[in-house]
Subunit: 339 residues, 2 copies
Amino acid sequence: MIIDCHGHYTTAPAAYTSWRDAQQAAFAAGDGQPPYPRISDDEIRESIEESQLRLMRERGVDLTVFSPRASAMGHHVGDESVSTAWARVSNDLIARVVQLFPDHFVGVCQLPQSPGVPISRSVAELRRCVEELGFVGCNLNPDPSGGHWTSPPLTDPSWFPFYEAMVELDVPAMVHVSAVTNPNFHATGSHYLNADTTAFMQFLQADLFTTFPDLRLVIPHGGGAVPYHWGRFRGLADMLRRPEPDESVMGNVVFDTCVYHQAGINLLFDVIDVDNILFGSETVGAVRGIDPRTGHHFDDTRRYIEALGLGEDDLAKVYERNVRRVYPRLDAMLTKAGR
Amino acid sequence: MIIDCHGHYTTAPAAYTSWRDAQQAAFAAGDGQPPYPRISDDEIRESIEESQLRLMRERGVDLTVFSPRASAMGHHVGDESVSTAWARVSNDLIARVVQLFPDHFVGVCQLPQSPGVPISRSVAELRRCVEELGFVGCNLNPDPSGGHWTSPPLTDPSWFPFYEAMVELDVPAMVHVSAVTNPNFHATGSHYLNADTTAFMQFLQADLFTTFPDLRLVIPHGGGAVPYHWGRFRGLADMLRRPEPDESVMGNVVFDTCVYHQAGINLLFDVIDVDNILFGSETVGAVRGIDPRTGHHFDDTRRYIEALGLGEDDLAKVYERNVRRVYPRLDAMLTKAGR
């Protein structure tokens, strides 16, 4: 069984994205939330079957851990009420996808984060998504300001109330930023990767996982710059009199395989223990084209993994067992279904 | 001949760093610049011979392209007058190192950047360092705010007056940030790498090198996350209808080899054309310890390069010919000296 831990609903029906525009316009005008449109099951089916599910079938992916479009989370937009309403409709839409395609999708939620608003205010939506909608994890934005980095580091105690809820509900978070308003950064080209690297270094510097031994975090995009600079991070840990990152961080942190060329995937598996790597593609996502050098989609990450020549056991870890370990609610769900 | 393109004077005499403290205290108190201390040639000799030069000899490095400590540039500190005085004494100190060890060091300058101050105000110090002190390049900080990224992207026309001066003087810049005040970032652990990735993506998005075909920029730390995510950048270029990065960026941009483990160096050379890689170590710098797995210093990057098994021609490019091409004033100097 092949599980993609990192898929976003980037092909959601136009009525949903139009509502977001209307919501922003209403906020700017000082009006209340606009009425949410009726979206039919057929519209959802079509938006999935012709894109995400088609790609999954072509690539032999059985199940995708699916969340709202990351760049559209836009936590910097509006205020807490705007983020709350947007998270709610976005998560409800994911729940409908899961309901329509229960064999192929499992939900991960967007949080109603807003700059300066305590993260404890996101616990209720996490709980609703996990307990009522059957979601198995969440995307946690370390920078709800959209590229101005005005929140404290993820190791700051102000984040702890959320971690407590995650541990209680037994769900992991993917550390995932959203769109960026700072013109220095390109969302998928630099902001995402920078956030991944930033989060890892924060974890390396602090004792977060001593405080929360059961906390599990996914750093996407192959861990940002971390595997390529693994020696730098090991050396910095040494200079800062911290334990080796394998010891202090990698018991609680995993990377996905959203690295879009063979040499990058080779490095990832060369440097990072196979237990810490979850298959992911970020489809339908950041990079949609076909690599003229290979004739295949850049984001068809399964091809790169297949070319590694891993043993069956390691392949099973990367494709299935690691993600079931990190997302125990997914594992329970699959076990119950006899998968 | 082996030339290290990336060394910082991190072991400068205490009197120099104490003056910086006094300068900051004076600024805070509203006083003028404190008197600069007398630093003897012996103090400088000792600070070099026992650290940078000892390491160079141990590692077989003949010459280092040497600049003031990057994390101490602190462009966010004080105001323009503070940065101007600090850049001047820092560059003068480098000039004295070069004067004392002309066979082993060549100077690269720090700029008097300050947040919100036009970059054209840094041209005079660049000109002084190149024309009067014999320096061959500069370190250009894309984020003088120290981690708040308040300046426009490097491709914005507001930077052009400086590029014009660089082209006129025929000197390259290393894109190098400094210390960071934003607690989300660790200077050498995330801010530096993020800045490298950010700068590359800015170059990929714009036509800077069409406007300045003779502009040359060094992205340090192995290009940040770029080689590891080379497929992502190629795919993004495709999505943004930009030319391949090899075509639009790599004619004017080179990476150094400040990547502190074998797998990372392997990837760098696997992905990036050997003409675009300059030997660099960032000594005495970010990571000073010994890797217990290898028994050698993390930052002894020559070992990783030697282990690649490159042909003589490629080795000569990485160690000498590329840096002489990118820094023509260095080449002229060496040629004149019969080296």
